[in-house]
């Protein structure tokens, strides 16, 4: 049965979800879109961020999102280290594409299984004052646990956009993807720039993981649900376009939310992968492609 209320609720929830999806995908837009590094393990780092937030929350009662922010330097270092291994093993030898892909696939698997070994396969959730509350916005009930991640996601998108367009390192990252000569003229070392970008990508992943665990409980294998989502969003958003990422994330969020409301939640995951397949087959350069 169709009802306008249901539709309005689904759309609002979808938009909020989209803001969060943008946060999850930013790292991929950066590393895959701009650097051509196919970090398929990105969602595993997201879940690692979720568990870090969960661990601090359950042991010390720290706010999950605050924890996520505090832990970003740590994940930045982790990301930079992963890129160094990747660079030394694959990029420098010029055989990055396939073996590099397998490398990240193996990394995803290692992170996931390590989490299973440490925390088991039960659902884990966090506690924070805003979880479970809901406010009324123009006749539509909005869960605060969705609203906060949405706001943080928007802030992250804006911050990354400003970083890429206004700072020296941000512009250097963009230059890496487009014009190596310009980069050399700027006096920047591409490997160093890519290390920084990769570190930022992983830091963003960990923070979005903290958002994830406030929205819904996680298990180690939750990362698999996000592989399709993040790559669908990155491809749809036009690989490397930060604004495009946000728009694509909201489209996906709304599509999933509508699907879940009107056809049942078991179909919603297929939406993202279906959109991804379609995007890949029809327009590999995305909606806002270069």
């Amino acid at each position: 049965m169709f009802s306008w209320d249901l539709l309005a609720n689904a759309v609002v929830a979808g938009v909020l979800l989209g803001g969060f999806y943008a946060a999850v995908s930013l790292g991929v837009s950066l590393t895959f879109g701009l650097l051509d590094v196919v970090n398929i393990a990105h969602p595993a780092f997201v879940i690692l961020g979720s568990y870090a937030a969960y661990a601090m929350n359950s042991s010390f009662g720290l706010d999950p999102i605050l924890t996520g922010m505090l832990l970003t330097p740590l994940f930045y270092v982790l990301g930079a280290a992963v890129y160094q291994v990747y660079y030394a093993s694959f990029e420098r030898r010029g055989e990055e594409s396939l073996r590099g892909l397998v490398f990240f696939f193996g990394l995803l698997f290692i992170i996931e299984v390590s989490l299973s070994l440490t925390y088991g396969v039960d659902y884990r959730l966090v506690e924070a004052p805003y979880i479970g509350k809901s406010i009324e916005l123009g006749g539509v009930g909005v869960a605060v646990r969705l609203l906060v991640p949405f706001a943080v996601g928007l802030a992250m998108t804006l911050a990354l956009h400003l970083f890429l367009s206004r700072t020296f390192y941000g512009r250097a990252i963009k230059a890496v993807s487009q014009d190596r000569l310009a980069l050399r003229l700027m006096g920047a070392n591409p490997v160093r720039i890519k290390t920084i970008a990769f570190g930022i990508g992983i830091a963003a992943a960990s923070l979005s993981g903290a958002l994830l665990v406030t929205i819904a409980p996680v298990v180690p294998s939750t990362d698999r649900d996000y592989i399709g989502r993040v790559f669908a969003i990155a491809v749809l958003g036009g690989l490397g376009s930060i604004g495009g990422t946000l728009v694509a994330a909201i489209i996906l969020g709304v599509a999933e939310s509508l699907m879940a409301t009107f056809f049942g939640p078991s179909w919603s995951l297929a939406v993202s992968f279906g959109i991804l397949l379609l995007a890949l087959a029809v327009r590999p350069t995305g909606l806002f492609g270069r």
């Binding site: 398929i40 696939f105 299984v113 078991s266």
Partner: protein
């Protein structure tokens, strides 16, 4: 010709050996574990025909495997079809899916192809989860018909898997030595140059995806009778996808023996680890070994043996 004859003889010997083993009636667990290892020989070999020879990395191995398994479930539910029919049908349906992803290679190269196969796997899993006739998300219990050959289903399935493994490896062996194999190798190195040198790249890719899909479906078709209870999450298990690429990567992707070595080593290690340690830990080992190999020994064990001093 001598070498082909020799290969045939070896294949026959392995099959006869398998039948003998099955009639030996050692501890049933041996057949149970052996089945899994052999199944991985088929899966790894099938993956390698596309991934190793043609250079197209398939992350959706589980989808092809599961499609074979679910084709079998459908035929069992609908017609009580006999095992050989299940295997053939499972292979054909997965082969058809393989042909489909073959056409994807027209637009999607490298990484994009891999991501698409992963996406395909999730879409298929969702479809199966919402298809109640084959059990939906809850899964389905399969009843084995009575009185099989060798007096026991596990022994029968083990023998069947011996035959399938031999068949799969033989197919890979033949492809590798033929002009098809050389063409695939050329397109793996450079698709553009291969096409310009007269290699019909599309046709060869379609061939590789179809054969690879067929063999993966074949590997999955006996699965329902092996486990007797199938749910989407077990048939679409990501472990298949990881093992399917880890085994050839560890063994070596350029020759038929690589996936066999990888499957036997890694498969056996996992079977032993599952019993003695825990199934989670053995998966961790797979992941670590995989990453270690792609970083340190890009040409796998075969490469290590061939050039002990490295480059």
């Amino acid at each position: 010709m001598v070498r082909t004859g020799g290969g045939l003889l070896v294949s026959l010997a392995v099959i006869v050996g398998g039948i003998l083993l099955a009639s030996l009636r050692v501890n049933l667990y041996f057949y149970f574990a052996g089945y899994v290892v052999l199944q991985y020989v088929v899966v790894a070999t099938a993956w390698n025909i596309l991934g190793g020879y043609a250079g197209y990395v398939n992350f959706g191995t589980s989808a092809f495997f599961a499609l074979g398994a679910y084709t079998a479930i459908f035929l069992i539910e609908a017609f009580r079809a006999p095992l050989p029919v299940l295997i053939l049908a499972g292979g054909l349906v997965s082969g058809l899916l393989g042909l489909g992803i073959g056409y994807l290679t027209l637009r999607l190269k490298g990484v994009f192809f891999s991501i698409a196969t992963l996406a395909l796997s999730v879409v298929l899993q969702t479809l199966i989860m919402n298809w109640d006739y084959v059990g939906g998300a809850k899964g389905v219990t399969v009843i084995r018909p009575g009185s099989p050959l060798f007096g026991n289903w596990v022994r029968l399935l083990f023998t069947v898997m011996v035959g399938l493994a031999v068949a799969a490896v033989t197919v890979a062996w033949i492809i590798e030595r033929s002009w098809v194999g050389r063409g695939l190798r050329a397109l793996r190195d450079s698709e553009e140059a291969a096409e310009c040198m007269g290699v019909p790249t599309l046709r060869l890719k379609l061939f590789a995806t179809t054969i690879s899909g067929f063999l993966l479906g074949v590997a999955g078709a006996p699965f329902p009778y092996y486990v007797t209870y199938v749910e989407p999450s077990s048939a679409f298990n990501l472990d298949y996808a990881v093992n399917a690429l880890a085994m050839p990567m560890i063994g070596g992707t350029t020759t038929w023996i690589g996936p066999v070595i990888g499957a036997v080593l890694l498969g056996t290690a996992q079977q032993v680890a599952t019993v003695t340690i825990s199934s989670e830990l053995n998966l961790l080992i797979v992941g670590v070994v995989l990453v270690a190999f792609v970083v340190l020994a890009p040409e796998g064990i075969v490469g290590l043996v061939r050039r002990p001093r490295g480059r």
